[in-house]
Symmetry: C2
Subunit: 113 residues, 2 copies
DNA sequence: CAGTTCCATTGATGTTTGTCAATTGATACG
DNA sequence: CGTATCAATTGACAAACATCAATGGAACTG
């Protein structure tokens, strides 16, 4: 998408050179912002960090004591990460195991680079 | 920082192998989450995208018409990006020019990679 | 000086968020 | 069965957020 700026100026002088802005696709902006937003909380960011560095799936009962919040709050954060597609989970009997889905993080780092 | 998980289990069986989690530093998590949060809105993400791709400083009067929100709303978003350290601004007479501070984005991409 | 332009700030409003305590649903154990 | 455990959900609440219209302040213009 390209957007041509509408310049205004008090005396007719342009405030900058006329430019066509190579804008990010709105749909991509939406996707990347959604991922960034999900990472925009220290607890969720740390969760993703732990899951990323731990190759494999991690039980929720291991994650809860790492933080100073209630179990329901942590479950809420995990849901946000799931909704954003950043993590996935798997039920095994009584336990739930979480792991990172690298694709979504790639979308963010792809935009950054 | 390293945190040792406290495992619980109904029958004494561990739900996973005992692991020491190499956790991100809380202060770093806070910083990175702050940056991600500031990018977690489509308008702000697009703003940063425009500023990044346009090498140089861009006048606010060029940015406002790119979006479907009021001038005061855009000013509010620019302030959030400034507060997060992602962009800086410069006043020149009547106009204000914004540009990206690459350091903060590096903090995020550094964590991602 | 009076009017105009740009941009930041203020105040108001409805929405979203982070948090907890309590509950529920599912599974396992004795 | 009945009880215990894990994790998700619900309901409640204060704080933060996105938005706009209106105002303010600074700097040009004539």
């Amino acid at each position: 998408m390209t957007l041509t700026p509408k310049r205004k100026s008090p005396n007719g002088q342009p405030c900058c050179k006329p430019v066509v802005y190579p804008d990010v696709e709105p749909a991509e902006a939406e996707r990347v912002a959604r991922i960034a937003k999900a990472l925009g909380d220290p607890i969720r960011l740390t969760l993703v960090d732990v899951l990323r560095k731990h190759a494999g799936k991690v039980c929720v009962c291991e994650l809860v004591p790492l933080f100073d919040v209630s179990q329901s709050t942590l479950s809420h954060h995990l849901k946000k990460l799931r909704d954003a597609g950043i993590v996935d989970s798997e039920r095994q009997g009584l336990w739930a195991y979480y792991y990172v889905n690298p694709e979504e993080l790639k979308e963010l780092s792809g935009w950054l680079n």
